[in-house]
C-alpha cells in the first residue's frame, strides 16, 4: 500500500471537483491554495519515503516511483503551491478589474487543480499509454486556461495551441503504438506490454528499426510540448495571452513534464539501439532551440512573450545537456530543470503584478517600477539576473556545468552556446533595466491595486535558487546523482 501516492493524485483531483462546484465563492482562492499545499505535503512525504526505501512499484505495476520522477513530483507540487498563493490576490485583482466573471473564475480554479492532477499523473504512471493520455489531458485543461479571458488574442493563442499540440501529440501516439508493437513481440500480448518497468528490463532485445522510428515520432510529439524549435510556435502566444499564474505553471512545470516523458522514452530506445542516435537528435534540437530563441529575445515587445522565448532557450539547454549524457551533464540538466522552473515562475509572479500595475504588457510602456513598488521592481530585477545565469544564483552553477561538459564532450557546440547566452543576456538585460530603473514619463502613472499583491513566493523561489547556487546539500546532490544515473 502506498497511501502517499494516492493522496498526491487524489487531492488535486478532489480539488478540481470541489472547485468546479464552488470555484466562484470568495474563499475559493484559499481552498485552491489549501488543496495545493496538501498536495505538496503528500508529495514531500512520498519523496521522503522514496529516498529512504528506494524505488516503488505499486497498484498492479500501474504506478512507478523512482528518484527521477519523485524529484519532479516534489518540484511540481512545490511550484503549484506557491503559484496558487500568488494567484490568490492576482486573480482577485483581475476579477475586480472586470476581466473575469464568476463563472470564469470557477473554471480557472477547477482547471488549475485538474492541470496539476494531469501533470502528476504523467509523472507517476508506469504505463506509456496512460502517460500519453494524461499529457493530452494536460493540453486540454491548459487550452481552457489560456483562453480564459476570451479576448480575440487569447482565443487565437488557445486555438493555435490546441491544433499544434494536438497534431504533435498525435505523432507521439503513433510513436507509442510503434513501441507497443515492438514490445508485443518480447512480452506477448498480455497487459504488461506498455509498462515502462517491463520494457526497461527487455529494452536490449527490442527491435532497433522500429524503436528508432518510434523515437522520431515521440520526439516530434513530446518535443512540441517541450517547445523545441521548430515546433515552438504555440509557446510564446500561449504564455503571453493566458493569465499570468498559468504562464508561470506552463513555463515552470508543463515543459519539464513533457521533457520527462521524452526522457523515459529515450532510456528505452537507448537500450534497444546501443548507438548515439537519440543523443544526436536531442543535442541537435536542443542546440537549435537555444540559438533561435536567443536571437528572437531581442525582437520582443511584450514582456511575457520575451520570457516565453527565454523558456524555449532554457529547455533547449536542458535538452542539449541530456543529449550529451553522462553523469555530469545529466546532473547539470536536472539541476537546470529545477532552477529554471523556480526562477522562471518567480519572474512571472513579478511580471504579473508589474503588468497589472502598468495596465499593459508592452515593455516600452512599463517604466520606473523601483520607485512605485520596490518589491516588484527588485523581484523582477533579481529574477532576470538569476535567469541570465549571473553568479551567485543556481542557474549559473548549472549553466557552468553544462558548458564545461560541452567543452569536454562536444567542443564544437561550445561557441554556439556561449554566443547565444551572450545574446540572450544583452537582450533581456537591456529591456528589464529601464523597466525597473527607468524614468517614467508621468503620463502613464502606475495604478494602485485593489488587493495587496503576494510577493512572498517570488523571494522564496529566488532564495532557494540562490542557495542552490552557493551550496547543494549532500542529500540533494545524492538524489540528483541517482536520478542522473537513471537517464543513462
Amino acid at each position: 500500500m502506498s497511501l502517499e501516492l494516492y493522496l498526491v493524485l487524489g487531492i488535486p483531483l478532489l480539488g478540481g471537483i470541489l472547485l468546479g462546484l464552488w470555484g466562484h465563492k470568495t474563499w475559493a482562492a484559499e481552498l485552491n491554495a489549501a488543496m495545493s499545499a496538501l498536495t505538496f505535503l503528500a508529495a514531500a512525504v512520498l519523496t521522503a519515503r522514496i529516498i529512504s526505501e528506494g524505488p516503488m512499484l505499486t497498484a498492479d505495476e500501474q504506478f512507478f516511483v523512482d528518484p527521477l520522477n519523485v524529484f519532479l513530483v516534489a518540484l511540481t507540487a512545490f511550484v503549484s503551491m506557491t503559484t496558487s498563493l500568488f494567484s490568490r490576490p492576482y486573480m482577485r485583482i483581475e476579477h475586480a478589474h472586470g476581466r473575469l466573471s464568476d463563472r470564469r473564475l470557477r473554471l480557472y480554479h477547477s482547471m488549475y487543480q485538474m492541470f496539476i492532477f494531469t501533470m502528476l499523473l504523467v509523472l507517476l504512471t508506469n504505463n506509456l499509454g496512460i502517460l500519453w493520455v494524461a499529457l493530452e489531458a494536460a493540453t486540454l485543461t491548459t487550452v481552457l486556461l489560456v483562453s480564459l479571458y476570451r479576448s480575440a488574442a487569447s482565443l487565437e493563442a488557445a486555438w493555435k495551441y490546441f491544433i499544434l499540440c494536438g497534431v504533435g501529440i498525435a505523432q507521439a501516439l503513433f510513436g507509442t503504438i510503434l513501441v507497443f508493437s515492438a514490445s508485443e513481440k518480447m512480452l506477448g500480448s498480455g497487459g504488461g506490454t506498455l509498462l515502462w518497468t517491463r520494457l526497461a528490463e527487455v529494452s536490449a532485445n527490442l527491435e532497433p528499426t522500429v524503436m528508432s522510428l518510434a523515437f522520431v515520432f515521440l520526439l516530434v510529439g513530446y518535443g512540441t510540448k517541450v517547445g523545441l524549435v521548430p515546433l515552438h510556435n504555440w509557446l510564446p502566444d500561449a504564455h503571453a495571452e493566458g493569465p499570468t499564474p498559468v504562464s508561470a505553471v506552463l513555463s515552470g512545470l508543463l515543459l519539464n513534464v513533457a521533457l520527462y516523458a521524452l526522457l523515459r522514452c529515450k532510456v528505452l530506445v537507448d537500450g534497444a539501439l546501443q548507438t548515439a542516435f537519440t543523443s544526436q537528435l536531442l543535442m541537435g534540437f536542443g542546440l537549435l532551440s537555444v540559438v533561435v530563441a536567443a536571437f528572437f529575445l531581442s525582437r520582443q515587445k511584450d514582456i511575457k512573450r520575451m520570457f516565453a522565448y527565454s523558456s524555449i532557450e532554457h529547455m533547449g539547454l536542458v535538452t542539449f545537456a541530456f543529449g550529451m549524457g553522462g553523469p555530469v551533464a545529466n546532473f547539470a540538466g536536472l539541476l537546470h530543470m529545477t532552477v529554471h522552473s523556480l526562477t522562471k515562475s518567480a519572474i512571472f509572479f513579478a511580471v504579473g503584478h508589474a503588468t497589472q500595475k502598468a495596465g499593459t504588457q508592452i515593455m516600452d510602456d512599463i517604466r520606473g517600477l523601483i520607485r512605485i513598488n520596490p518589491t516588484v521592481g527588485w523581484g523582477l530585477m533579481l529574477g532576470s539576473i538569476a535567469i541570465l545565469g549571473l553568479p551567485p544564483f543556481g542557474v549559473f552553477a548549472s549553466e557552468f556545468l553544462i558548458l564545461t561538459s560541452a567543452m569536454r564532450q562536444q567542443p564544437w557546440a561550445t561557441p554556439f552556446l556561449l554566443v547565444s547566452l551572450g545574446v540572450a543576456f544583452a537582450a533581456v538585460f537591456s529591456k528589464v533595466q529601464p523597466m525597473v530603473f527607468g524614468e517614467s514619463e508621468g503620463s502613464r502613472a502606475l495604478k494602485r491595486l485593489p488587493h495587496q499583491p503576494a510577493l512572498l513566493p517570488v523571494f522564496v523561489h529566488l532564495s532557494i535558487v540562490l542557495v542552490l547556487g552557493l551550496y547543494i546539500p549532500p542529500h540533494l546532490a545524492d538524489w540528483y546523482r541517482q536520478a542522473a544515473k537513471l537517464i543513462g
Binding site: N127, I130, A137, R150, L155, A170, L173
Partner: protein, 220 residues
Amino acid sequence: MHLPLSSQIINLLAAIMLLIAFAMLTQRRILTLINLFAMQGLTLTLSTAVVAWTTSQPHLYWSALITVLLKVVLLPLILHRLIRKLEVKWDVETLINIPTTMIVGIVLVILAFNVALPISALAGTITRGTLGIAMASVLLAFLMMITRSKAVPQVIGFLAMENGLFFAATSATYGMPMVVELGIALDVLVGMVILGVFFFQIRERFDSLDIRHLEKLKEE
C-alpha cells in the same frame, strides 16, 4: 500469393479507408465531410471487428464497440448539431486547389508505404500489410488540416488523423490495452466538446469561422 478470406476483407477495408481519406482531402462541403468522416469510422469498426473475429481477441470487440459509438454515432452527431447551430451547414470551401492537393497526397502515400515497409515486415500480425495505409491516412488527414482555412474542416481533419492512428494500432499490433483506448476515447470526446464551445466564441469574436482571422499573433 493466396490470402485467406479474412485478410482479403481486411485489405479491402483498408483500401476503402484510403479512398475515403482522399475523398475527404478534396471535399469542399462541410456536410459531406462529416458524412465521410462517419463512413471512415464505420470502415474502421468493421476492420477491427474482422480482426477480432479472425484472431479471437475478445478485447478488440470492445475496441470496435467504442469506435462505433464514438466515431460513427457520437462525434458525427455533435458535428451535425454544431454546424446546424453555427449555420455553416451549406458552407463550401472555395480555396483548395484540388489537383495540387491530390498530387501532394499521392506523394505522401508513396512515402508512407516506404516508411512502413520495414516495420510491417517485422510485425507478426495478419494485418501487417495495412500499416502503410494506416500511416498514409494519418498523413493525408494532416495534409487536410494544413490546406483548410475554416475551423470545422480543420477539426474533422484532426479527428480523421485519430482514425488513422487507431487503424495503425490494429494493424501493427492487435490494438492497444483497453485502459489506454478508453483514455484516448475520453480525451477525444472532451477535446471535441471544448472545441465546440470554442467555435461559438471564435464566431462571436470574429463574425466568422475562418481561421485566417486568427493570424494576428505574429513576430514583427
